[in-house]
Amino acid sequence: MTVLRSDTPALDIAGLAFSYGGRFALQDVSFAVPPGAFTALLGPNGAGKTTLFSLITHLFTGGRGTIRIGGWDIRRESRKALAQMGVVFQQPTLDLDLTVVQNLRYFASLHAMPTRTADQRIEAELARLELWDRRDDRVRHLSGGYRRRVEVARALLHRPSLLLLDEATVGLDVPTRRRIVDQVHALARDDGIAVLWATHLIDEVRADDDVVVMHGGRVKARGRVDEVARAAGCETIGEAFARMIAADPEGEGGGERREGGKGGGGGSP
């Protein structure tokens, strides 16, 4: 795992703005994810989460502001920054015709892992995600939940310090979703991996998580879940989220920021 100084956020976004032509997709987005924190990026469809992920992963570039991963600027030092992150995209990205192990070996080679090291890491991550018995199955024969867990295992192979998951549980049943959420929480808690978990499903957010609420391309609130709820005058984050969306159905209003908690204090360049 990449060793970071404890005061270096795994992800630090400051003043980020991005538009498609004349239509802005992100405006003045700032937040940070410290090492070992599970941060939920909560927002309805069209909030700008996927655009944000594409900028963080350097699939897109442009706009204003900075994105640093483990201190590395994604624009200026993209290769060093990318080496520190594992990504699970919203769309499935496994090769259906290959087996689980073949998919993972392919990814390991993209990260320049020698064969022996790769096989050790593959065994460890498949065991951790309870997939070892399915290692020789073709991905085509796996259920959606298994495929997602294979993608999580793949994202961890190179020991990233930051794990990004974009709507990783879309289309899965409730028990499978809960299992994946539990496993990813364990990664943050036990291994100190910083997690940014984008979702629009409120039940995937826990009381002690950090949360960044996005709507209409802006950060509406950020901080610990209970603090964000309290600041909105609500008992639960679900109520607070619904209130924020209802107050600005089109997502056009300015972002009001609430800071606090271990994940909320970032945002400085």
Binding site: Y20, A25, T61, V87, D97, Y106, F107, S109, L110, A112
Partner: protein, 270 residues
Amino acid sequence: MTIDAYLLCLKGILVREVLRFLKQRERFLAALVRPLVWLFVFAAGFRAALGVSIIPPYETYITYEVYIVPGLIGMIQLFNGMQSSLSMVYDREMGSMRILMVTPLPRWYLLTCKLLAGAAVSILQAYTFLVIAALFGITLPAIGYVAVLPALVLSGLMLGAVGLLLSSTIRQLENFAGIMNFVIFPTFFLSSALYPLWKMQESSVVLHRICQFNPFTHAVELIRFALYGRVAPVALGITLLSLALFLALAIYGYSPAKAMMQRRAGTGGG
């Protein structure tokens, strides 16, 4: 990143492409059946109609089947390049291209690895075709089977680069059908694959000119001469230049600033 890292990445991409190809038996069969039909049906029918006089690199009269072998190898590589392009558009639509793009190696290198892997698959197909042709009596000088390898690498890369460039400009899989009509067929028929260019000149000077400017013509001629142990300098130069141009444009097409994913992103996700 060390040289080992780059080699490991290349190996991984090569292994993946070959595994995918071997697991897609229909694709393997289609890739072989197409040129074999041309060789054994089309060429047999046209043998009488088309007389091929002695032109370099041939030193004696040859049958039409022998003449079109290099063109059909070019056809295999052309279709493979387009198939790779199709698979990249599919990968992009399905998302797996993203996994390649978010790895910490230069994007130009990753795309070049994809290109090399595609060329390797096309070479496997080309040699299988040559073996089947030989089994049916269409043989070439022994040296040609070895000498053609570098030509196949170069032509495979060049035609793969065309596919890569196309994949960077096609937004949706549905648009790919147009590629068949507007790229593959004109490229193939406006070349020296099926008839020598002097024959085309007798019919139309304009078409002859177009054939001369077609990079596929030069890829075919490069293969044709290599099959007889000879180098065609003009064909070699133009194939190399075309490779450099198409690859550079494709790399630009896949750059983060230019990526068409960016244009499409407004429709996706949260």
